[in-house]
C-alpha cells in the first residue's frame, strides 16, 4: 500500500472504524485512541495490508485488541490483587446511548463483537469467523444468543434466528 492508497483508506475508513470499535468497547474516547493507534501500526506494517482485500479488518482487529488490552490493564489497576472489584464504567449522558450501551454491556465480549461485526459492519458469518478466528457454528451461536439478549433489553422485536 503506497502513500496515496493509505491516505485514501485512512480518510474513508477512520470514522467508520471508530464507530465500530466504539460499539464493541463502549467507550468513544478509547475507540478513537485505539483506531488512531491501529492506523499508525497499519502504516508501520503496510506491507501486510493488501489493498485488493479489505484492510479494514486488519485495522479493526488491531484496534479491538488494543482496546481489550487497555481495558484489561484498567481493570487490573482497580482489581489487584484479588480481581474481586468491578469498576463502574462511565456512561455518556445521551439516553439512547445509555440504553444501547447498557444492553451491549450485558453481552459477553465475544457475543458483542459478533453482533457488531454482523449488524453494523455487514460481515457475513463466514467473514466474522475468519476475523475472530472461531468456527462458523460458534459465531452463529454467539449471534443468536446476543440477539436474544439485545431484544429483551432493548424491548424490540429484533428477530431471533440463526444467521
Amino acid at each position: 500500500m503506497d502513500e496515496a492508497q493509505f491516505d485514501r483508506f485512512y480518510a474513508n475508513s477512520y470514522s467508520k472504524l471508530v464507530g465500530q470499535v466504539y460499539a464493541m468497547c463502549g467507550n468513544l474516547a478509547e475507540a478513537q485512541d485505539c483506531v488512531q493507534e491501529a492506523f499508525i501500526r497499519a502504516w508501520d506494517h503496510r506491507s501486510q495490508l493488501d489493498v485488493l482485500r479489505s484492510p479494514d479488518a486488519w485495522v479493526r482487529t488491531t484496534a479491538y485488541r488494543l482496546a481489550v488490552s487497555r481495558w484489561r490493564k484498567a481493570r487490573r489497576a482497580f482489581r489487584q490483587p484479588d480481581r474481586a472489584l468491578e469498576p463502574e464504567r462511565t456512561l455518556e449522558p445521551t439516553p439512547d446511548r445509555v440504553a444501547i450501551n447498557r444492553a451491549l454491556e450485558q453481552l459477553p465480549d465475544a457475543q458483542r463483537r459478533a453482533i457488531v461485526l454482523y449488524h453494523l459492519c455487514d460481515l457475513s458469518v463466514g467473514e466474522i469467523a475468519q476475523e475472530v478466528g472461531s468456527p462458523t457454528g460458534t459465531v452463529k451461536a454467539r449471534l443468536a444468543r446476543g440477539r436474544q439478549t439485545l431484544a429483551r433489553l432493548l424491548n424490540t422485536d429484533l428477530e431471533v434466528r440463526h444467521a
Partner: protein
C-alpha cells in the same frame, strides 16, 4: 445483507465527528514506530547473545547460527516480513513507495493461527496417568477473569488467538494448557516475556494476593531442546512456586512451564493443594521428573504441528 439494528447504527454514528490526525502525521508516526521496532529487535538480538552465558533460556536460533558469521543478517523463510531485513532500506523517515511496499497477490503470509489441535491434551498434562475423575473442565477462546495459577498478572501481550483448556476435578484448582498465537515473532516474544516476568515476580504477586509464606524460583536446569522444530525463536522456562497460609499445614503449589516457538506460545500452569511437590525438571532425578518437564518435547512438537 444483515439486518441493521437502528440503535446500534445511531451509536456508531456518534463517531462521525471523531477528531483524527492528518494522514501525513499518521504516516510519520508509523515510520517512527517502524524504525523504533526494528532497532528494538536488533538490540534484543544482541542482548540475547550477550546473555547466553548466564541466561536460563535456550535461544535456539542464536545457538544454531552462532558459528555462522552471517547468522544475524540471514533472513529466515519463517521470519515475519515485518521483522525481516528490508532489502531497500532508506534513512528517509517518509520513504517513497518501494517495490517491497507494493500490493501483491504474493504479499507476506499472515501466520497460521493455532487451533485446538495445538493445545495439549490430558495425556500430555498427566503423562504418568491420572484419576478417571480428572478430565477437561472447559475450553475457552479467551483468558477470562480467572487468574491462571498463582503467578498470573494478567499480561500476555496481544495474542491474535487465545485457546485455554482447563483440566482437573470440578471444585478443585484447575490445571491450564494455554496456547497463544501472535501476529509475528516479535509479538510472541513480548507475550512470552510478560508471562516470564510475572513468573519471576511471582513471590510479590502471591504476597499481594495475601499469602503469608511464599517462595518461587525458576529452575534453570530445564533440559529444553528447541532444535527439534523449525520455528524460530524457541525458548522455555520452568518455575516452581509455593504459598502457605499462616497456621496451615498444607500449601498451594504452582508449576509453570512457558515455551515459545515462532509466533506461538504455550503456557502450562498446574496449581494444587498438598503437603509437598517433590519432582525435578531432570529426567534422571531420584524425585522423578515433573509432568510438564516430561511432556515438554511433545508439547513443543504439538505447538507447531
Amino acid at each position: 445483507m444483515p439486518e441493521h439494528i437502528p440503535q446500534l447504527d445511531d451509536l456508531a454514528a456518534q463517531a462521525q465527528e471523531a477528531p483524527m490526525l492528518p494522514a501525513h502525521e499518521v504516516r510519520r508516526l508509523g515510520d517512527r514506530r517502524r524504525t523504533t521496532r526494528r532497532a528494538g529487535l536488533a538490540v534484543a538480538a544482541v542482548g540475547a547473545v550477550a546473555a547466553l552465558g548466564v541466561s536460563v533460556w535456550a535461544v535456539t536460533p542464536l545457538l544454531r547460527g552462532a558459528d555462522n558469521p552471517d547468522w544475524a543478517a540471514s533472513p529466515s523463510p519463517t521470519v515475519s516480513p515485518t521483522a525481516s531485513p528490508d532489502p531497500t532500506p532508506s534513512p528517509d523517515p517518509t520513504p517513497s513507495p518501494s517495490p517491497t511496499d507494493a500490493p501483491s497477490p504474493t504479499a507476506p503470509a499472515v501466520p497460521v493461527p493455532p487451533t485446538w489441535a495445538n493445545v495439549p491434551t490430558a495425556a500430555l498434562m498427566y503423562p504418568y496417568g491420572s484419576s478417571p475423575l480428572v478430565g477437561v473442565l472447559s475450553e475457552s477462546e479467551a483468558m477470562g477473569e480467572t487468574a491462571k495459577g498463582l503467578c498470573d498478572r494478567g499480561e500476555w501481550g496481544s495474542p491474535t488467538t487465545t485457546l485455554v483448556r482447563s483440566f482437573g476435578i470440578e471444585g478443585e484448582l484447575p490445571t491450564y494448557a494455554i496456547v497463544l498465537g501472535y501476529a509475528d515473532e516479535a509479538a510472541a516474544s513480548e507475550g512470552f516475556d510478560q508471562i516470564h516476568t510475572a513468573a519471576v515476580e511471582c513471590e510479590s504477586i502471591m504476597t499481594e494476593a495475601g499469602w503469608d509464606r511464599v517462595s518461587s524460583a525458576e529452575d534453570t536446569r530445564l533440559p529444553f531442546d528447541g532444535s527439534t522444530v523449525e520455528e524460530e525463536p524457541t525458548r522455555a522456562a520452568y518455575f516452581f512456586g509455593m504459598a502457605v497460609m499462616e497456621g496451615e499445614d498444607v500449601g498451594v503449589f504452582n508449576d509453570t512451564l512457558v515455551m515459545q516457538a515462532g509466533e506461538r506460545v504455550v503456557w502450562l500452569v498446574s496449581t494444587f493443594e498438598g503437603m509437598d511437590n517433590n519432582c525435578s525438571v531432570l529426567a534422571n532425578d531420584d524425585a522423578g521428573q515433573c509432568s510438564f518437564a516430561k511432556s515438554m518435547p511433545e508439547v513443543l512438537e504439538l505447538l507447531v504441528k
